[in-house]
């Protein structure tokens, strides 16, 4: 049953203009890498690649793609009321959430991971940044799962999950992270950077010490598992609305 839900959701997510727009979005970092390759100044290629992947993929592309797929997987159905067809079937709610996540998370991981791989290889693949690119690709895949689960939970809790998610990404992980270093303990981006730093500390370009590997891993698992439970809980109590 999980697989059936996942299959249907996958079809819905890939339909129409959205998939095309997401692909265009995913192509931007690679384009930047090409520009940087063409006009770039000589320097530490590993640092440059790390900086590019962190700023364009982990900070902008990954949360945005996960946000769109995560909230569209379940939230769109809940909003327009057609979720009632799914919710009135004798399927445990945890399977519904699992099915939705099983469609959105791999899709996000595949798209963003692919973008990371291409971008990193263009900029530094032949200049010693291939290992780093692989690490960032893995981090993007892990991040896809965590972000998607979080945003699925959000989309069950509120009808405006997308804007709430954007506020989290832009204000909490963006502006506040620069001012209050403590917020990094509650930031998925920092978990991913911590995981990458666990492989090789030189692969993280940003300022400030990355999280310890244990904290990063535990944080990622806790957010993913917590979001899943919250989503199931909220879906069990969800009142089907007639749309807005």
């Amino acid at each position: 049953m999980i697989l059936t839900i996942a299959g249907n959701t996958l079809g819905a997510l890939l339909s129409r203009r959205r998939a095309l727009l997401m692909a265009v979005l995913a192509a931007v970092p690679a384009l930047v890498a090409l520009l940087a390759r063409a006009y770039g100044e000589p320097g530490d290629v590993v640092q440059q690649t790390a900086g590019l992947l962190e700023a364009s993929v982990l900070t902008a592309l990954l949360p945005l793609v996960a946000l769109v797929f995560g909230t569209a997987a379940l939230g769109a159905e809940l909003e327009d009321g057609s979720a009632i067809h799914l919710l009135t079937k004798p399927v445990p709610r945890w399977r519904v959430v699992a099915g939705k996540a099983l469609a959105a998370a791999p899709l996000t991981g595949l798209l963003v991971g692919g973008a990371t791989l291409v971008t990193g290889l263009i900029l530094g693949g032949d200049r010693g940044a291939a290992g780093l690119t692989l690490a960032y690709t893995l981090a993007a895949a892990v991040g896809g799962v965590v972000y998607v689960l979080l945003f699925i939970a959000l989309s069950v809790l509120t009808g405006r999950a997308l804007i709430v998610g954007l506020i989290y990404v832009a204000v909490w992980e963006g502006t506040l992270a620069g001012l209050f270093e403590g917020t990094r303990v509650l930031s998925i981006r920092q978990y991913l950077l911590g995981l990458i730093a666990a492989i090789d500390p030189h692969w993280v370009a940003g300022t400030g010490a990355p999280l310890a590997p244990g904290v990063a891993a535990a944080g990622a698992v806790l957010v993913a598992a917590g979001s899943f439970l919250v989503a199931v809980q909220a879906l069990e109590r969800h009142q089907v609305s007639a749309g807005d």
């Binding site: 959205r18 931007v28 940087a36 440059q48 769109v68 506020i167 832009a170 204000v171």
Partner: protein, 319 residues
């Protein structure tokens, strides 16, 4: 339809009668009392003004349940926090007798305020522009609008005016807080106001430019989809992706390429225009110094294109 002779009673003389008139052949036609409107017709201008007022309220979630107000007012609160913090620090420093030192070191001044709250302003536009347009398309209300005195271009203009006004309020409120706060902090209130009065044209000018640019751009994007979520994501992406690109490129490939790319990034354009109105000749990403006037030109070009797209979209839209 009106086969029966003398059947249909129309006009004031007949009164609002709901009775049946018996025709020649014995069959009857029911007079339902429909009557024409004889009152004053308020016309196109009034209709547009009403739509502007209604849309302005919509963009703040007024007239809707509390849930709809959380996002706009929450964002406005976030945008005001730096102003309150800056005032608090100034007041504290004055008590400690270190006012001049703090004043010079403070990162929150009139000049730096828009860049500081930039992200929140983009979020407001991304969140509220679809609120103004999506429902009318989704629930097929546009046909009703267009069948009345309002023309298609009026609808687009009214929505632009409403969101622009809402964003202007959003942008000016925190700076008004600082302005009033600083005036009250000064020992001589009149002198305090006079000292800051010189910054007012720049503050208002940048707010106007920002409000018009972001309102036109986000409405133009939002007009292409009846789904609010997609519109929100698209508006945010159009601002954030170019900004991230410029940020990365300015480190990797300093020079004229970054400068040229930054002219197409709304966030960087507004920062550059902000530098211009506050009297800096140079602006742009740190590695590529550009004349700040170029950003004002780019902002105006973006305004023209966005407004044109918005109007053109509603001229062709299938209601």
């Amino acid at each position: 339809m009106s086969g029966a002779a003398g059947g249909l009673g129309r006009g004031p003389a007949d009164g609002p009668g709901r009775g049946a008139t018996v025709g020649a052949a014995g069959d009857s036609i029911y007079d339902l009392g429909y009557r024409g409107y004889q009152g004053v017709r308020l016309g196109r201008a009034h209709a547009v003004a009403s739509l502007v007022r209604q849309s302005f309220r919509q963009s703040w979630g007024m007239g809707r349940p509390g849930r709809a107000k959380i996002v706009p007012f929450g964002l406005a609160a976030i945008a005001t926090v730096p102003a309150v913090v800056a005032l608090g620090i100034s007041a504290l420093a004055k008590q400690l007798g270190a006012a001049d030192m703090i004043e010079a070191a403070s990162p929150i001044r009139y000049e730096t305020y828009y860049p500081v709250i930039g992200q929140v302003v983009f979020l407001f536009a991304a969140a509220q522009a679809p609120e103004l347009l999506a429902r009318d398309q989704r629930h097929r209300v546009l046909a009703l609008f267009f069948s009345r005195a309002i023309r298609r271009e009026d609808y687009a203009a009214a929505k632009l005016l409403a969101l622009g006004a809402a964003m202007l309020a959003f942008l000016l409120f925190p700076l008004a807080v600082i302005f009033v706060g600083r005036a009250l902090l000064a020992a001589d209130v009149v002198a305090g106001v006079a000292a800051d009065a010189g910054a007012v044209p720049a503050i208002v000018g940048e707010a106007l430019l920002t409000a018009w640019l972001l309102a036109a751009m986000s409405l133009a994007i939002a007009s292409f989809t009846p789904r609010r979520a997609y519109a929100t994501a698209a508006i945010f992406a159009v601002v954030v992706i170019p900004a991230a690109t410029v940020g990365v490129l300015s480190e990797l490939a300093p020079g004229q390429v970054v400068g040229a790319v930054s002219l197409f990034s709304p966030g960087d354009v507004l920062d550059g225009a902000n530098a211009f109105v506050f009297g800096h000749a140079q602006a742009g990403p740190p590695s590529a110094s550009m004349p700040s006037l170029a950003y004002v030109g780019s902002a105006l070009a973006m305004i023209v294109v966005s407004t044109a797209v918005l109007v053109a979209r509603f001229l062709r839209i299938e209601p």
